[in-house]
């Protein structure tokens, strides 16, 4: 096995946060007055500062030809890592050794100038990304064809639609030929067809044996493209290895946001029964911040009963974000004594497509509503499938419900 193409050792990036409503930049006046003050008083800190470790002792290696997906919640340090690797910011501690040319695409269309034409911007952007004039000229036709902007080459890009703009920008970057390509969440833009095209291009780049580092929140894209994964959490590297495992860790590990939703206790008048908690979990009772598409899940709702009731019913409804009700389930009416209870609603084989949904909870007694909780709880179905359920999902964008109807084909003649 060849030596690693990227070696990162104990990489730390520290930022100093100033706790003051200070302007984003320092004014000379502040420095001078601070200096003056410290002359008179021994120590007069005007601001309290706090250290913030955007990256905290991160070490890993990447081998040539690896396609590395970097995942983590917002603020985990992914973008900082890419900026350090791209040499835009300097590490505070640690060491990085890179054996090859790096091209980074941290933003779509860096350096595009709105007044310049498409043709001019291809040259400008290419040279900013590190291509020579001859190299750009040689690839020019290919770039234009990829971006599908032939007709508008001599139009200023400020007149472009946002889709055209993004296509052109990605096309330039995609035709770089470095040994190492660093790509930040750039596929979040553009329509689905173009996203597929970009991913395809990145796959072929990787296929040519080049190394790709890719940050994305789209798990299906990361899983499709990458063979290795890095999981960052609050600046620390908490998992590295095969992509599947890292994604699993990301989903399972409770590093994600709190999975138990606690409802504020109702006030004045306190209903005879009210909900206290909600948790979405898998069939074994493990909490799930996001439900993998096609996987079984259940909702565990905690509630408190204050007075004895004769015909208590608890209901759970699921609706889209546009308040289109999809399904509502009721418990059977029963008498109930005061106390704390939980109800478990098991989702039994109806599979929703990926996305966020609203959960609505209702408590009633003999047809009278005791409490109605419409807008507090959400269910999110992630587009990462666990492999066991994969076969039944033909196309996750084909409808709200992904269960398949039974289909028969009969020969008639």
């Amino acid at each position: 096995m060849a030596a690693p193409i990227i070696t990162v050792e104990h990489l730390t990036k520290r930022y100093i946060l100033r706790h003051q409503q200070a302007p984003r930049y320092t004014a000379l006046r502040d420095v001078l007055t601070d200096k003056a003050r410290t002359l008179f008083r021994r120590r007069a800190p005007r601001t309290t500062t706090e250290e913030f470790l955007a990256l905290d002792d991160v070490s890993f290696t990447v081998n040539a030809g690896d396609r590395v997906g970097i995942i983590g919640r917002n603020g985990a340090g992914k973008s900082t890592l890419l900026k350090v690797l791209s040499r835009i910011v300097e590490p505070t501690k640690g060491r990085i050794i890179i054996e090859g040319r790096v091209a980074s695409l941290l933003e779509v269309g860096t350096g595009f100038h709105p007044e310049l034409t498409g043709r001019e911007n291809i040259f400008l952007n290419g040279s900013i990304l590190g291509m020579g004039r001859a190299e750009i000229a040689a690839k020019f036709d290919e770039i234009v064809a990829f971006a599908e902007v032939e007709q508008f080459l001599d139009t200023p890009v400020k007149r472009y639609s946002s889709g055209m703009y993004v296509r052109l920008a990605f096309a330039v970057a995609a035709h770089l030929e470095p040994e190492i390509l660093i790509v930040d969440e750039v596929l979040a833009v553009g329509d689905a067809a173009f996203q597929r095209k970009c991913l395809g291009k990145m796959e072929s780049v990787a296929g040519e044996g080049r190394t790709v580092l890719f940050v994305s929140h789209q798990m299906d894209a990361v899983q499709r493209l990458c063979n290795k994964g890095l999981l960052l959490h609050k600046g620390q590297l908490i998992a590295a290895g095969p992509m599947e495992k890292v994604v699993d860790r990301y989903l399972q590990h409770s590093i994600t946001t709190a999975t138990d939703l606690k409802f504020a206790p109702p006030v004045d008048p306190v209903p005879a029964a009210f909900t206290t908690t909600l948790r979405i979990e898998d069939q074994h009772g493990q909490p799930l911040p996001e439900v993998p598409i096609g996987s079984p899940w259940q909702a565990r709702i905690g509630f408190t009963v204050e007075k004895p009731l004769d015909g208590f019913v608890i209901a759970l409804g699921i609706s889209t974000l546009l308040d289109l009700p999809i399904r509502t389930s009721w418990s059977l009416a029963r008498p109930i004594d005061p106390g704390r209870y939980e109800a478990i609603f098991v989702n039994d084989g109806i599979h929703l497509t990926a996305g966020p949904y609203k959960l609505v909870i209702g408590l009633s007694d003999q047809g009278r509503t005791l409490q109605y909780v419409p807008d507090q709880a959400t269910l999110s179905i992630s587009d990462i499938s666990t492999l066991t359920n994969d076969t039944r999902i033909v196309n996750s964008k084909s409808g709200l419900l992904i269960n398949q109807m039974t289909t028969r084909i009969q020969r008639l003649a």
Binding site: T26, I98, T110
Partner: protein, 280 residues
């Protein structure tokens, strides 16, 4: 060993810097080209501005010189006397102010792409140099109109142009780097440029100062500290020839100060450059 090997450590950027600058040399031209292309977009008279602007400055300066009866050396027409000074002064003032603002104007690049940051201010100076060449053609036309033939000293002109370049790059780099952290310089720069016009021999000539009996020696020395005095005197000496004299001690002082500015500018720029993306 891989020739593209890069080691990133705190404070290590220096090792690859000059090699990188060479690898990215194409970017000097591209950034300058962008600024030139963009500048006159959506203007009615377009590129004609680069002729109109120096002509207007020239006219105003010549008028002020005439108003205050600044002395003319020999039979040099006033427009040429003023022109030989307006050219380098305009070059310096635009190059200095554009370079000072260049990093902030390109902050979107600094935070998203790596390249040696020196390229940004220097490419703006290149744009100003092109403006200078255009206005130099105007001066040549004026010389033809006045039937004024320069003597052999004009061959030294590139040396003085180099001095002007050194002065503007040195001061531009210093202020550009300071500007990233202290935006105060955004307000200081126009003031320096405005003030500089009054203390540089644009509307008048240096002999008005040096030959005056009214002005104390110490003020003459302070006057000579301004590096643009050396540049402008040099331009006049080259272009106008004949009667114009070059005040040598003052000129040497200018060279020294320009060189010092360049060294300080590059040093400070290089020292703070690594933090630009964090601060800007």
């Amino acid at each position: 060993m891989n020739k593209y090997r890069i080691v990133l450590e705190p404070g290590s950027a220096d090792r690859h810097y000059w090699r990188d600058l060479w690898n990215y040399r194409g970017l000097f031209g591209f950034l300058a080209w962008r600024d030139i292309l963009v500048r006159y977009k959506q203007t009615a008279i377009g590129i004609a501005w680069s002729v109109v602007r120096p002509l207007l400055t020239l006219g105003v300066m010549a008028f002020i010189g005439w108003l205050f009866e600044s002395k003319l050396p020999g039979n040099v027409p006033r427009l040429l006397l003023v022109g030989a000074a307006t050219l380098p002064w305009t070059f310096f003032s635009t190059a200095f102010s554009e370079a000072s603002n260049s990093l902030i104007a390109n902050s979107n690049l600094l935070t998203k792409v790596y390249f040696p940051r020196l390229i940004v201010p220097i490419s703006t100076v290149i744009v100003c140099l092109i403006d200078f060449l255009i206005s130099f053609v105007i001066l040549l036309v004026l010389m033809v109109i006045y039937q004024f033939a320069p003597d052999v000293r004009i061959l030294f002109l590139p040396l003085f142009l180099l001095l002007a370049l050194v002065t503007s790059i040195g001061s531009g780099l210093l202020i550009a780097a300071l500007n990233v952290k202290y935006r105060d310089f955004r307000y200081i720069v126009p003031f320096i440029v405005q003030f500089g016009l009054y203390v540089s021999p644009v509307a008048f000539s240096s002999s008005d100062i040096y030959d005056s009996e009214r002005i104390p020696e110490v003020l003459k020395f302070i006057y000579a500290l301004n590096p643009m005095v050396g540049v402008i005197d040099g331009f006049r000496w080259c272009i106008l020839g004949g009667e114009t004299a070059l005040y040598v001690p003052g000129f040497l002082l200018s060279i020294g100060i320009s060189a010092a500015l360049l060294i300080i500018g590059i040093r400070y720029f290089r020292k703070t450059e690594r933090g630009f993306a964090d601060v800007i």
